[in-house]
Every structure is written in C-alpha cells, then in structure tokens.
Amino acid sequence: MTRDTNIGGASGRFPATHWSAVLAARSDDPAERSRALEAIAAAYWKPIYKYVRIRWSKPTEDAKDLTQDFFAKLFEKEYLDAFDPAKARLRTFLRVCADRFVANEAKAATRLKRGGGAAHLSLDFDAAENELQRAGPHLQLVASPESTDDFLEKEFIRSLFGIVVERLRSECDSRGKQIHFRLFEIYDLEGDGGRKASYADLAKEFQIAPTDVTNYLAFARREFRRIALDCLREMTASEDEFRREARALLGVVPE
C-alpha cells in the first residue's frame, strides 16, 4: 500500500473535531493556515490533476506541473480569501480558479520554471495517472463544459472516500480491529461485477461467528460514516454547506 501524498488525510492528520479547513485557510496563524491548505490540497489535487488532463487535454508532464503550480499559487496568492461559500461550492470555486490559472499559463509564452521558490507538494502523480487510465469510459463525461462540475464532483467523492478509507484502515490497525477493516474491504470495496461473499463464507474464512460478521461490518461502516462526515466538515465553511454536501454524498439511498 503506497501513500499518494505526504500531505493531509491519508496520514491521519485530519483532526476528529469539527474543524473547517476552508475557514482555517484564512487564519492569521501561519501553522493553522498551512495545515488547512494541505488538507484542501489532499482532497482536491487528484480531481484537479485529472481535470487538467482531460478538460484541458494537457499531456501528463504539463498537467503535473500545472497542478503543482496551481496549489502552490493557491497557497501563495491566498486565492481562498475570495471564496464565498454562500455563492458556490468549494470545488466549483477551485475549478474556476484552475481554469483561469491554466488559461493564463497557456498565454504566458515564456514562463518561468514552474515551482521555483514555491511550496512543493509531494504528490503521487503516477497513481493519479493510473486511476485516469482505469476510469476509461467515464472520461467522456467531461467532454462538455456543462459536465465539468459532475466530473469534478465524482472525482472529489472518489478522492474524499479514498482518504476516509485510509484513515479507517489506520484507525482499525491502531485499535487492533484489522478483521473489521478487512471485512469492510472485502464486502464494500472489492468484488465489482463478481459474486459477493456471503456472511457465512466470511465467517468461515475469518473463523468468527456469522453474527460477528454483521457486527464487525456495522462497526466499520459506522466509523467510515463518522470519518467521512468529519472530513466533509473540514472541506466546508458553513453548517448549511456541510449539510448540503453531506446529503449529496451520504444522505440519499438509491431507490
């Protein structure tokens, strides 16, 4: 298991309290500000990288540089100070900023070497590129400008859930609940298109009672939900925005 990035969520640096990275990004305290921006970058760098690759048809290397530069500028230029949660969602705001940034970069014929003097993030672009290749057909989604928000939303959810799953794994490890996580992984994360293992099969495999499978899975899902809500709260600036996002991401059961 590799880490995508050395910043933010996967390493368990998301606090479990109701802390908003979006609000903290405007803090006067440099340490708080830096922590907030890292958390935002952790959730959004992959969606933005994929967006630049697909929507702007940028080659891999250019997209990597642009993504690095974009987040460096986001930190340096205090773009987030202009973000108003009442007017737009954070990912829409970031998408508009990214569009502007890429367009300006394209205009600059003689650009300075990217990243010079700016904060450098350690991002696992190979992993992002692999994901992009695996996604295949749904890349068409971003062919039209109207669908860009859908694409970003989908990628944001993928990125956020990825962070949540890693944090859940880390918490289960530290609490000696590796079987809980493994059951969750087998039952909820794996087995696309294939036959799902029954609770009885899982109980046999892990040498536990079938009722334990039910309880372990319930525990893992409950923790997943809790961590997802914590992360979502970090990525939102107001109670209303949090509730809207939570409803969109977690609150609707498909009919």
Partner: protein
Amino acid sequence: MNWLSDEAIARLQTASALPDLAGTRYRLIGRVGSGGMGTVYLAEDSALGRRVALKIIDLPELRADLSARLLREAQILARLEHPGIVPVHDAGTLADGRVFYAMKFVEGERLDIRAKRIETIPDRLRIFQRICEAVAFAHAHGILHRDLKPENIMVGPFGEVLVMDWGVAKILREDPAAQEDHAGIPTERSQNAPTETKPLKTAHGTVLGTAGYMAPEQARGEIASLDERADIYSLGAILRFLLSGKQPAAGEERLNRLNNESAPLAAAGSAPKAVAAISQKAMAEDRASRYASVSDLANDIARYLDGSPVSAYPENVFQKTGRWATRYRVAIGLVLAYLIVRALLLLWLRR
C-alpha cells in the same frame, strides 16, 4: 491508496445512508419513503416477530433541534391512542447518533392515490368522517396536526383510516388527563415558538405545512394564534379534494378565487351543493366563519349522509322538497305503488 471504483463508491454511499441498527432489536428490511424530517424504513422487530416502520432522522440532520422534534412527534403519537392515529412502539437513538422511533407498519395506500378508486361520494365521505374522528380526538387532547393533506392519510386494506405525520403538530394545551404521564413533552411555545408574527420555518427555511391545504392564517405565519380552526380549514381542503379529485388552490390562486364567489363551489366539481357548501364553510378565509369544531363539521357530513339538512347550506322550499323526496324515496315509492295498485283494482272492480 487503492483506486475506488464507481461501484465501490455507490456501495459506500448506500451503506453510509442506511441507519445503523446494531444493538437494537430491529432488523432492516427496506426503505419505505422520505419525509421532511427523515426517512421511514421497514424493519422487523426481532423481539416480537412483527414488522414495524422506523422513522429515522437523515444522516446529515444530526442537529439537536431536528432530533428533539422527531422525539416530540413520537411523544405526541404516544399520547394519542386512537384507531385513526398510528401507534408508536418505541423511540431512542441509534449507534450512529440518529434519533428514531418505531411505529406500526401500515400497509395501505395514501388517500391521494386511493381516492381515484373510490367511486361514490358517500364512500368518500365515510372515509372523511374517519379522518375527522381522529383529528377531533387529537383536538380534544390539545393537539393540532397542522399538516393535514391526502398524502398524510393512509387507507388500509380493510378501509381503516390513519392520520400520519405529526411532525409539525402543535401542542395547544397540556392534556389534563395525561399530564401526570406525559409532563415532559415540550410545547412549541417553550421549545421553538417564534414570538413574532412570522411564518414558522423548519431548519431548511420552509414554512411548515403544505400550500393549498394550509389555512390562510397559518400561511401568514400567525403561529401563536393558531387554533383548531386551522386544521378545520385543511379538512375542508381534503373534502374538496375528495369531491373534485383536484388539489386545492394556494396563494395567489386562492386570492383570485376569493374575488369570484361562485368559484369555491365550482372547485368542488360535480359534487352535491350541500357537500360543496360544507367544504366551503370549512375553508372560509375568516376563521370565525368556519365550523367551530371538527365535530360540527363531521356532524354536517353525517347529516348529509342521513339525508338531513346541513347547517352550511340553507335550502329553499324546492330543495327541501327534493331532499325530503330523496330521503324517503322508498317509502314514497311504496305509498305510490300502493295507491296505483289500489286505483287499478277499483277500476277493475267497476268494470
């Protein structure tokens, strides 16, 4: 980090939205539907081996005010033991922090759907009478429903009628008979009643109640002064729906209707004028002109079904005669038949 497929994301979203029933006596069977405050699920009560409906606050609604309101609804339902009001069995908080209550699972249809298959007006009126009985019972216990509409009425397979969704009910006064047992239910006044005259709003900023079925004073947000006559207006609107099959007008449309006095009767479709007049009286803009109580409204319906004059519809002599003839048509028919047979017999004897 492993890449999460679209299928895995969908599974995680579904698993996250479902209530966590671990540690309870309930086993989830499926989802029934969503309302303003939460979602209703079908579950099995493993202790008693029966199916129940669980009303559970939605995941993002982990707010104290909504949780308190759901519990308050459960307490109100527990206080209203009546065949026309869904009984509540249990209430509490799930492991994931969501507040829930368990109630009888009602297998039936919503009135707005069922009404299309009820052919005769008397049959519709008999259902309406049962709604009135439940609401009158609640009023007698000091509780206003405030969101009466066909969508909140369930009609069971044996014709039983249940008034559902008491989530925005208002406690007018403590029930003296129940005070000792239920002294803990917070009234709206003490909990979240606005002190000014403005619409009572939910956390989502919407006025409580449903346009078209909401009394004008309720739509204006005069919450503190609402009384039983607000529910009587809604009952009048339900009656109109039962007569015409159409949703009643709301807002501007209603004001236009006020300028056209014949419109309310027309809105009741081809219904008998006396029943249309009952609906019109219940839906009077000025609440002083409405029925004083649900019992008065129900009595007028009973009188109509019995062929007696109704208080809402003053009759002229022809209408009285027509109604009298309709009411006693069997007796009149028998007398007429007797007279005709007798006349024929006399004629035959004379020959």
